[in-house]
Each structure stands twice: as structure tokens, then as C-alpha cells.
Amino acid sequence: MPQPRLLPVGSPLQLLLLGCSFALAAYAGLRLFTEDWFGVALWFVGAALLHDLVLLPLYATLDRALVRGAGRHRDRVAYVRVPAALSLLLLLVWFPLISGRVAGRYASATGLPPDGFLTRWLLLTAALFGGSAVLFVLRLRRATKERPPTAH
């Protein structure tokens, strides 16, 4: 009868290190999971899955579509990619405030107006795309000037 193939053990140093790490993680994890263990586990694992299987494929696909859409002007992709990425980054980080989903609590707790975030994000986005457009036009003009004149 053939022997079942056993998994090799691997580096003993690595095993020791990971053993220590798991012991500490378990010590803290037991305390983390006391309140609502299912909810916490869902958030812990869900955050990783949501990032790796939803957020990342989503922005990668958007970027791929952008590159495809640029056709032979691939060198111009950056003029859209950079402002779009920066704007979406701001939206991702400040989504609760920009979307207004915490507007009521925010206004009553801090005494600050809750409705300026969307406006400011839109203005920042406009500035990012506008700045990129200005840069694009300037570079295009410089490139046109530097090109040798065509004969009439």
C-alpha cells in the first residue's frame, strides 16, 4: 500500500515564531470575541474578503477599462487615472461624512454643520480633474511647439 504523503514541516524557526504569534493572537482574540464573537469574526474575515474579492477587483477592472478606452493614447491614461484615484480615495476614507449617513449624530454631537463634506469633496474632485486637464493642455502645447514645423 502506498504511504500517504505527509506535509513537510518546514523551517523550525518559522514554526516557533508563528507559534508565539498565534499564542499572543489567541490571548487577545479570546478577549476580542467576548462581546459579540460572530459579529467580530464577520468583521475580521469580512474585511479581508471584501477588500480582496470586491474592492480590489472593482478598482482593477475600472482601471483596465480606462486603459482600454484610451486606445493608442496609453500615455494619457495618467491624466484621468491620478485625479480619479485620489478622488475615490477621499470618498473611501470619508464616506460616512460625505454620504451624510451620520449627519444627524454628527451635527448634534459636535455642533458643526454636517452638509459641507459632500460639497467640499466635489470641489476637491473638480480641482483634481481641473488641475490634471490644465497640466495636460500645457504639456500638449509644449509638445506641439517642440515638434518640427510641417512644410506648407
Binding site: 523551517s11 514554526l15 487577545a28 474585511a47 480615495l89 451620520v102
Partner: protein, 433 residues
Amino acid sequence: MVRGPALGVARAYRRGMARPDSPARSRPLPRTPFSPAFWRSPLRGPWLTSVLGLVLLGGITVLFLTGLLSYAAYNPDLSTVNDKTPDKGLLGFYLFSWPTDPHWLYRLTQGVHVTLGITLIPVLLAKLWSVVPKLFTLPLARSLAHALERVSLLLLVGGALFEFVTGVLNVQLDYVFPGSFYPLHFYGAWVFFAAFVAHAALKTPAAVRNVRQLRAEHGELVSPSPAAPTVSRRGALGLVGGGSLLLLVTTAGQSFDPLRRTALLAPHGGAEPATGPGGFQINKTAAYAGIHADETSEEAWRLVVVGRAGTVRLSRPELLQLPLHSSSLPIACVEGWSTSDQGWRGVRLRDLAALVGYDDPPDVLVESLQRHGAFRRAALRANQVADPRSLLALYVNGEELTPDHGHPARVVVPAAPGVLNTKWVARMTFGEL
């Protein structure tokens, strides 16, 4: 910057299978994420991952240490009312009496914690992007050590995202996470840090080598069939750095009154809530805390001071008869924002302690009129009570406290987190807690 999985893949896969002998195909088409050829970005490679990894090694170490300091700043071992994590066990091994000097200490450590955390978000996202093919590497385990390392990576990635997400949500008052912020963020940090230390120990030597190395790249992160580049590695790093810079300049201003308007999207950026001496930033308004004007009026409100000499009840005019002192202190919140120094005027905490029989100031339990809220009761340690700048403030910037800043009386203590500067104080119990 990004070339990753695409929805068109399945279509391309079917097309490829229908014409297996197609002469146009010099190499196999990308199939599933489990095939290395699926990942086509020419940017991925040990150099980019190592640079991002080393930035995070430094950044996350600072985040962890400032986080531990913030935990210590609450003096959780002083009294159960300060302790949101009573079962911390050995994780509180390093706790110490939080000092009152320099008076901007918590403003600095917590400002760095939150602002740096927000600034590192693009670096974290880029790092996760750069290593995502490894998530799909087959075989699932080459050895026992490798299998355990992959489990550890779940704690690392899940832990990092858990910490960043709970932190970012908490500063925006979006309490959707499953439980109270303090235990989640504190114990979550330890779970994450356990995996982080192992990962750093295993990877840092190679990362340092990779960054120094100038030769052509090889290794499992390098795509076997890279797409034509649309940006250089340095360009991609520039975008990540630009994202960090943008977050930094639109956030950092919420820690400085003169720069507050530059914090365009931060929760305590923009204009001050009001004008005038009491117009500076508010953590929780009187209305939010459920404070009614009839219980803070001069007729109704009495400060109850309890100590070994008995109980003293003082109206606001009686308090004003005591020696008044001034001190210049900021409000610094766990949410990372702070105000510049404000001019407070009121009765020294140690004078109140002396009033009830303590010439050598002891600890004190401060209770607010607030009916709910995690810190409606807070304990201060003897060193905080003894500091001559610690006041039961009655005035700020030359005028009476406003209701939102704690009228009729509030505590201000140098270097203490904002929530320990109890507002609408009703009762102070001096003595061993």
C-alpha cells in the same frame, strides 16, 4: 497603476478553449486568479512590495506605540470607570501613571496616531494590491510552516483592515462596528500586532535586500506575462505618496486652530462651531449629552465635594469666592483632533481636595450631570489632581463657560484625553478609589 482580475476573463477563457490550436496564441491565456499568468501588472515585484512594506513597518510601529500610549493615558488601572477593557490581563503590563507634562502630550501622541493612520491608508491599500496574487498561490500549503504562515496572513490582513476601518469609522462617529470601540480597537490591535511582528520578523531581511538590489526582478510576485506598462514603478509610488499627502494636508489641520480650515474633509476641520471666546471645537454638545438648562441654573446647580472631612455643597457664587487660577490648556480628543491652548480660569483641583481634608492631594472620582455616555464618570490620579494647572474651570478665554463646554463647571487637566476633562461636573469624591 492597476492591472488585476477582469470580468472579461471568463469570456477570454471560453474563447481560448474553443480554438485550442489558434496560431495567434504564443502562450497560454490567463485563466483563473490561481494561474500566475492571470496577474499581468508589470508593476508587481519584490521591489515595490518591499518599499511599501518597509514604510508600513515604520508607520504601523508608530501607530501601535501611540495606541498603547493612548490606552495608558486613560489610566485604566486607576478605577473601573476609566476601564473599558476590564479583562485585559497581561495586555496592560506596561501601564503607568499618565504624566501631566508636557501639557500637550496627549494632543501630540493621539494627533500622530489618527493623522498618521489616515495618511497610511493609501500605502496599506497599495501593499495589499501588490501582494494579492499570493492569496491565490497553489498549492495551498507547501509545508506545515507555510500553511501556518497563510493562516497568520489572514490575521495580518484581516487585523490591519479591522483596525483601520474601526478607527476611521470611529472618528466619523459612525458606530456600526459590532460592539464598543475601545475593546474592539484595543484587543484587535493586539491580534493584529501578533501577526504583524511575525510577518515583520520573517520578511524584513528580504525586504531590505530587495530595496537595495538594483538587478532585474524575479520571484513569485513578478508577472510571467506582463502587460505593456502604462506607468513606471516610481510613478506608481508617486501616486501612493500623492494620496498620502492629500489625506495628510486635508486632515492635519484639525489639530491646530489656525489651520483648521485646511482640514477640508476631517470631522473637526472647516469653520469653528461658533464665534467668540467659547467658539472652539466641541466633543459632545449639551443637547447631545442630555443636559437641561434647569439643572445647570444658578438656583438648581450645586457642586458636591466629598472627602474624609465630610461633604461640602457649593453653589457657583460660593465657588467663585475660592481662589481662582488660570491655566492655558488644549482639548485633545481620542478621535485625533485637538484645539490650540485655551485660557481657562477656575478653582484648582488640589484646593478642592484641601477643602475636604486632603492637604496631600489624592485621586478623585468626577461625576457629571450627563445621564448617558461612556465617560459620564471619570477618575483622575493624584498626580493629575496635584498639578497646579488642573482646574475646575468656570471661565474660558475670559467669559463664562458656554453650555456646550460644560457650564456651570468642568474639569481641565494637562495632557489628559478630552473625555477625562469632565463637563457639567456635579460631584467630586476625593480619596482612595
